[in-house]
Symmetry: C2
Subunit: 339 residues, 2 copies
């Protein structure tokens, strides 16, 4: 069993750039024993102590450091090198999901070899990828894909909550990870945003075929958004390669533009529902089965109002599965899935 | 000046898999002096002799061999290794647009070093790519992007013909290459399908910024199709990163499904026009300004009927710029471009 030290320097209080931290702490089967963030040392996150330095973390007995921040574009800030040195020199394995691979860094790789620890690049694409074979239409599983209005609004979390609820009900349900945090949590998967773009759909196909060997109800984590000016290509390649039967549309209540990009507006929810549905390939028309609303920034009354508003606007079941449980969303999905 | 030997083994008669051959022969400023295809030796293509072996090509004085076929997914068939050996050993530079890079092949690289020739991988992504900076909205040029209903139907050719016609009229027009054949023809560009998928939009932005430094009317080559089950992610990332002012929709007259994939139907042209328009980001709404129809497989009366039909169905100017000239399409585009 691993015991995680999550490296979240400068971002332990920031759910966007610290989303790997949040995901690993909440959903990984292995425990997080400490979080490193010198700016918030002495505080805690979900009961886990925040420490200033790697040396301070060691008394909590970590086995594995994981880079818990997701800088835009995925390049490791240079100041992090010192932190990684300290982890490796302290005998910790290191996991990271950057586009820049730790194990390609000669200095870090040499140091890791010397200390007998492993560097695991969660975003490294597997060998032998190609375009889809058609197996994405031929396996026997039912596929639900979480899509969204923006990055970092909870598509992965929605899938994890729906998967947990489905497994509680005894269904052969599988979370299908498509990004570095999901891979850290589930221990398998492909970071489709790090695949050569020609092969994104092929990678998505490989993931659903692998998922179908693990169960028959698949929750495919979404990436980006069809209206995101940086990542829409990843979004669509993943969507088409996964060939979902149904979609769940994820949205942060009240958001009207892409985070940090005010000129990039998000269409109204009904328009977004229609756009995602129209983009389904004719070989497998997929409809939006429910709206998953992130209401973490609202009080309870505001959350209930936002959910009622989304339901009224779209005619679909809406809920915040983290705040109010995934039951209603799961009911809505199961009622619309093919048998 | 280069003199090309185009390697088109098995495909010199096949405009789909031989599309690099067609593009280089017709549009590259440097001449093609021979085409290699042992299955059609003795014949010719556009007046260029087809030869059986590299040795037979040498009397035409080539300086550079270029891999002129585009296998699906971009992996070099193993039988080609022998051909490349012969080219290198004969002192020819080699250009190729595979996902598998020639210069990463230790054996070929060693052989090239020994014979003093260069291996140029047209699809190798440049260093330092990332997500867009916003410069795709800030340069002064006007951007027209060719999109399509399928791969290999002539999006690049349409851009090249429109660019030629615009330059004939004295406009500061630039063809912006986004794939390996376009790069071979124009001598610059990025093969966006070989970029890590997170950075496709960033690569497209870099291309239009570079294009804007070369002229003020840009024709951005499209890739794939929004309804292509393999490549739609590349299509959308390129579209959003290029931030075009206008689109030209390319279609092969009469095609109702993606080539070789009968279960993947192509929507009717008016639906495809609308889908592409709805996918424009709100920060720069782009409309389809004209339809470029590939009618090479029809007789002239059939071509004229197909063009009239596309015009009637969409209400847009339609034409086949290869067959009937690019003038009408260019007029339609210029009339709709912002000043």
């Amino acid at each position: 069993m691993k015991r995680y030290l999550v490296l979240a320097e400068g971002h332990s209080g920031d759910p966007h750039h610290g989303k790997t931290m949040c995901g690993v702490v909440r959903y990984a089967p292995d425990p997080t024993v400490a979080i490193l963030d010198s700016e918030r040392a002495g505080a805690s996150y979900e009961g886990i102590p925040i420490v200033a330095r790697v040396a301070d973390a060691l008394r909590h007995g970590p086995t594995t450091a994981i880079v818990g921040v997701a800088p835009t574009g995925g390049v490791l800030p240079p100041v992090w090198r010192e932190l990684l040195h300290a982890c490796i020199a302290s005998g910790l394995d290191v996991e990271a999901g950057m586009h820049t691979f730790l194990s390609d860094d000669l200095e870090l790789a040499e140091l890791a070899g010397r200390h007998g620890v492993e560097l695991r690049d969660l975003r490294r694409a597997p060998e032998g990828l190609g375009v889809p074979s058609g197996a994405n239409l031929g396996h026997g599983a039912r596929v639900v894909h979480a899509v969204g209005s923006d990055c970092a609004i909870g598509k992965k979390t929605v899938c994890l909550e729906l998967d947990l609820e489905a497994r509680r009900r005894g269904l052969a349900s599988v979370f299908v990870p498509t990004g570095q945090t999901g891979i850290a949590i589930a221990g398998w998967g492909i970071a489709v945003d790090a695949v050569v773009s020609d092969y994104v759909a092929g990678a998505a196909e490989r993931l659903v075929v692998e998922g179908a060997s693990r169960g028959d109800l698949l929750w495919v984590e979404g990436q980006g958004s069809i209206v995101h000016p940086y990542y829409s290509g990843v979004t669509l390649g993943l969507y088409h390669g996964a060939m979902p039967h149904l979609l769940v549309l994820c949205h942060k209540a009240g958001e009207t533009h892409i985070e940090e990009l005010p000129e990039h507006t998000i269409p109204p929810l009904p328009d977004l529902v229609e756009l995602y549905q129209r983009l389904a390939l004719p070989a497998r028309p997929a409809s939006v089965s429910a709206i998953a609303l992130n209401t973490a920034h609202l009080d309870e009354a505001g959350a209930r109002r936002a959910i009622a508003g989304a339901q009224a606007a779209t005619g679909l079941v809406a809920d915040d599965p983290v705040r109010f449980g995934a039951g209603r969303l799961l009911d809505a999905v199961l009622a619309q899935l093919p048998a």
